[in-house]
Assembly symmetry: D2
Homo-oligomer: 464 residues x 4
């Protein structure tokens, strides 16, 4: 069976192919002469599968898309506070090549305008680094993100450098403002080299997927960026990524994204996927005409808008009842002692506040109806047992851990025996006070064995 996704991408791509408004960037010949018939798209999932269609192997210079990743590298190398002391996070309202310094702080408004991007470049590795060290670090890091060795397009580099007066101007003014610590021309040369690195849409999609995956590369599993840096860069992409139409992009497409003047767009939807498009014709804002159209279509079709509601919270708690037969006096297999009905609360998925909160409410409501358990049986032990199953929980964030532990503690104080099925240790009970800790087991059977007191078996399970 063949996956339908490539066919879908092909269909989307064909639906925009006839959009031929706009023109490629004209400021240097090597971009102005781009083959405007090219169009490509790629999607990479957070577990590393890449789908693509069209001209997915055509290389183009990464240009401003590099700003997002180099900002993350600067945060990694200089710390978030260090970077925030030099570069702001507000939309500038002006064009990307304006100086746009904030009053008082003198900071460039954000890292997506050239002034901020040159500053971010200068903070990579460290203030004493040589220009080569910075460029090497950036090329190596982008290559790791792409999952293959990238290289600089020397023609683009040479052409951009020849016409770099404005960026050199910005850099001198940043130096004057006390923002830039290195030589202005070094920073610009390095920044242009960073922008001249060649990529294709599959590379960019994988880079986006790494952002969507909290900085962990989907294929290699390597943590290439800290969670903090990723959150920061995704936030800035949201408010400042698409030049001067942030509000329009957020309300229409709703995917943190960054575009480049060579015609690329890279997007990242947290927890979901990275995506990339390429087509050289640009609209008046400087974004690829077909690229924007593809992103719009993908967002609408695939429900990718970050403000679309996913009602995941509701699905993470399941209540079931374990029927545990206590040991029989005889060894007759067909006879056993009283059967206890033990409540089990099954928490699934990546649990955040809303899941943990729902668990709390479910537990509280359930246990306030004791008659529901052991009805009509002479239960005297099992009815004091409660099981939490975390088998299906991928992760608990800190507030979820806190709430679940608090549930355990309170049940313990109410005299309950609490069992937690936690094969992957997502609850970290080791951090709890000894008297509050539950019994942690790897499987439900283990829990019921405990409860049964002997090797009794589960009779049935009304969960799923």
């Amino acid at each position: 069976m063949k996956s339908p996704i490539p066919d879908y991408l092909k269909a989307v791509l064909e639906s925009v192919r006839d959009q031929d408004s706009g023109a490629p960037a004209g400021y240097i010949d090597v971009l102005a002469n781009a083959d405007t018939s090219k169009v490509g798209v790629a999607i990479a999932t957070v577990d590393g599968t890449v789908y693509s269609a069209g001209d997915d192997e055509v290389e183009f210079s990464i240009q401003s898309i590099s700003k997002a990743f180099v900002y993350a590298m600067a945060i990694c190398d200089a710390g978030l506070d260090g970077v925030l002391s030099k570069i702001g996070v507000e939309p500038s309202g002006n064009r990307f090549n304006e100086l746009s310094l904030e009053r008082e702080s003198n900071r460039p408004m954000n890292p997506m305008i050239n002034a901020g991007a040159i500053t971010a470049h200068s903070m990579v590795v460290g203030p004493k680094a040589t220009p080569e060290e910075r460029v090497d670090r950036i090329l190596a890091s982008l290559s790791k993100l792409a999952g293959r060795q990238l290289s600089v397009d020397e023609d683009v580099y040479a052409a951009e450098l020849k016409d770099a007066f404005r960026n050199i101007g910005l850099a001198y003014m940043l130096k004057s403002a006390g923002i830039l610590e290195c030589e202005p021309e070094d920073a610009v040369r390095g920044y242009i080299r960073q922008c001249s690195i060649n990529v294709n849409v599959r590379d960019l999609a994988m880079m986006g997927a790494t952002l969507a995956n909290a900085g962990v590369h989907p294929v290699t599993g390597e943590a290439l960026m800290s969670q903090c840096a990723v959150r920061q860069i995704l936030s800035v992409m949201t408010t400042c990524g698409m030049y001067d139409g942030a509000g329009d992009w957020v309300s229409n497409i709703g995917i943190p994204a960054k575009s480049g003047v060579a015609g690329g767009i890279m997007g990242a939807l947290p927890g979901q996927l990275g995506l990339a498009t390429f087509s050289p014709r640009l609209d008046r804002r400087g974004n690829s005409v077909r690229g924007v159209a593809i992103c719009k279509r993908l967002s609408a079709d695939m429900g990718l808008h970050m403000m679309d509601i996913s009602q995941i919270g509701k699905s993470t708690v399941r209540k079931s009842v374990l029927k545990v037969a206590t040991a029989a006096v005889s060894d007759d297999h067909d006879h056993h002692g009283p059967i206890h009905q033990v409540p089990m609360f099954d928490l699934r998925g990546a649990v955040r506040f809303s899941g943990a909160e729902l668990l709390t409410r479910t537990v509280a409501r359930d246990l306030s109806q004791p008659e529901a358990h052991d009805a009509g049986s002479g239960c005297n032990a099992g009815c004091q047992a409660v099981v939490f199953s975390l088998r299906g929980a991928i992760s608990l964030n800190s507030v979820a851990q806190r709430i679940v532990r608090e549930n355990v503690s309170r049940l313990r104080r109410d005299g309950k025996k609490v069992f937690v099925v936690d094969p992957h240790d997502v609850l970290h009970v080791g951090d709890m006070a000894a008297e509050d800790r539950p019994v942690v087991v790897k499987t439900v059977s283990e829990a019921t064995d405990f409860i049964a007191g002997t090797g009794c078996r589960i009779l049935a399970n009304d969960s799923d």
Copy 2:
């Protein structure tokens, strides 16, 4: 057992109580004389539970927070395109009480500045509506959102009206720009009345939860706003909600939010919760000092930042093997015919692209290894069967439906018998071509019964 959440909220609230910088809004006495010792917080989940702490019953005027909801009402009453023709979506970079019209279109930059909010107010009900009709509609709608009858604070209204010169000025300039269709002073009077509606933090949290729940009221289940309107307003809150510090708010707190000059803040995290805070002292940007501190703490503690990664995609597909015993020739219970190993793919949660894509890959990989099934048995029927379980799927969005159906169709064309366990009809197979449709059943047993051809039972199930 008591929920730990109220205690947590109380602790957060106490941790900010001593922040006494800032001052209440001074432009009218009734706000200037607010009791600055008051501080309250509330959280409402998308299924309608409200937690609160502190001065959670103290009423204050909703002020600018109303802008978000009235913008949604305008979209409801005039259509999104109608509203977009009069009000933009970009951050203005200027203060909230500047005119800030876009060139050419003359539109106020966004609905969160006064000029845009007065315009949105004027579009409620319709251009021929009387001022009373508009205010009645707004009061009724906000009351529904709050879940109780709200009322106007006549003292606030009278005081604001007396000092409304600037807003009247804005309204006349909007009239001059061809944006406002009604009488300028009527629009301002209505707008001020809308801002003077009294709420408490529990009301605001429930309003926010309705946004977080795609416009469906968590308690009443009534669809109060269209999904489109909700997506729009959450997008605009993201880029323009917190006055001139959008980038700072998004990167630090990451919850779409709106604040009001009386000291309220209302936030909404899609799919998760609504939250609200109240405390009268404002910072220089006009946001409640303690409110911002509480939101920051909640975001950090509770993992509410919208750019934090939830790896939900990974948890939605489970592969298992159903062992189906075909009917035995004799009726000896202990003997049966050959046992088939039927693959079952279990899709759970609110399925969007990444879940459906994962399913596709899992299926494709699995079926390319046919030896894994029926190994060592003379299987001749069950090995052609495939089961998809959607029992645990809350919803499939449109792209997920399309992908799952496409999987089914392709397997059918490969000669497989496909069974879909879909008790809640989330797949909508009725939309599929007749020859592609799977067999839809309500339970796994029903599927195995089909497969077994007789009332055979499931021997075991290696899932969970």
Copy 3:
């Protein structure tokens, strides 16, 4: 003999008649429908002669040209400091109908933008004045300036009032900013009425000539504005008069001027003349196309640029020698006593610093060469005399008075007898200390008579 000036004006007017670019103001029909074939020009000298050509009797609404005169009236009624506390003097860099308030002070940037003009209007008569009183005062004053009774064009007034939303908006915002003290709508109604007063180019030229004549009406001699107010309004016309092209206007034309949207332009060159043009088609800045062309031509032809150099300083001092025959011992008419050569310094024109300074130098140089006087004669009295003639001095400003008096005093202390011929009392010797005062006479003969000691006559005078 007929004056050539009207012919000249006619020639200039014809040279621009075929300039038919631009369009009349379109915001109200009564202006949009103006007869665009009309073109008129007038010049008024500071002594009240008016020359005109073309449609010099056609009336049109004064519009923004009134701003200059009403600003002067506000200075008259509220004092310069009072007006400066409410209205700035800097170019705004924005369009005339922007609010353009200064930070901190909240003042509209200058009285030539609408916000400043509405404020100036509100300050006429006084804060407690009724709207009618203000309009009456303005109409009466403009009529005095024009030299005939003017009246309001009620059609223009009604049309402007109907479309006054923007100005009403500005007025409310000025009220909100604490600048406007009266009711916003009253101020706008009065302001529009002021703008709707009808004038023709001869009226405007006379108004301009009054400004050029330091506020004194050239015909009636009435002081209609204080010198201080005139200096202020001419300064503001220089930097802010011609909408957003102040620098262009100053460097090209160099005449303080103000234009109106009905097609009028009024200029005033201090000490020289007032001028006015009328033609309805406006350029993109809002200035009359033909009017600007006429002004440019007049400035170039007539040397009216205020930065053109007039070497007046050099012409104001003439040195001559009076030959005074002392009385003869006999009464024989043909015989007389020794002839003294008395230096006379003749100061002419409107004397300012440079004239007085030149006098000082001439005197100092001359008296350091005593041998030049009385050479070869047994002079014993006349050589100690010095005559200053102020017969040809129109006026001495304060520094010139100070310098001339100081010259007198110093000569007196050097032992000289100083005679001042000052028939119009321009030196005000009454202010001098008694011991420093010169002998003041009405004619040169009177001086020589004194010197001769008897009725001797002047033999000759090498001055002319």
Copy 4:
């Protein structure tokens, strides 16, 4: 006798000496360490006399004051149109070190902001000039203006160059905008060298006097700048010279001026004088505190405000009557023929439009009353004569020439004999048609001799 002017200047200087607010420019040590006790003032007349007081020999770097003169040099070397294609003339409303380019044209707003000044510098000599050639030209020209050899302060130059990042940034951006043709760093180095030239207040006052004297050096008489360049630079100084307070400066002081960061101010009042002040403490706008105070005092005391009215127009025409005795039949000295009363119109000063216009009116009014002449005498020749005296006319500008000639022509056509006393040939009758030309003579006697037909003498002359 000693001139009182130095004493006056000393008194003014002492009156501001205790103003010790502000601080010297702090961006380089060599300025920050300036001796703040220094204060000097100088005035230079248009005929070359310099008065000064205080620290009039203390040298300081000319800084931004050079911008005015280098702009004039650029106009000289590249033509006004060439310069206007690269540099605008509008106030920028921003700080002097902002880029402030005009839309579309990309021109820096004016030559007084750094971006415009660097551009002006680059246009001196020509686009192919070496940096040294430009600096040599500027140093030589400023030296000629000062009347002595100036030199560069190498300490200032070195310090400024070390901290020139912002100016280099501006220059690169000008290069990028297509404005700058030379190497950006060459332009900045040259510009800084130009700013580092040392001057004292006497130098600056003489430079200002050259501007006031239409570009002709008051002492050497050399025409150092074209009239057109001078008019342009004075216009630009008026609207943009004093940083961001143009309106304030024009209305308060009214002298075209330019200030420099080292504490100098240079002003020029057309036709009157140049002035200069020096004191290092600057106000928040960057102008010398004491310098501004001195200029304000001088303007008020000396009537230097350019909008103050000089009523020169009224003084330039004098009507007199020449009594010409025709030749007697006998040679008896005491008897002569009939005495004719010949009207003489005496035009004095630097005649512009208003003087010529007054002449026209005086002539027209006078000649319409023929009975006034020759009353009671058998006049038959002299009464047809009219004399214009231009002995006292320094100059006639073109419109004045045209009007006077037109008067002559019309009188000729009316049958009059016209005599023009024009010893300095200010009327240029050679340009007139032969039939219109008057009889031109050198003295009044020559005219009367003509009229008398014989050697008759003037009996009396009621003009003086």
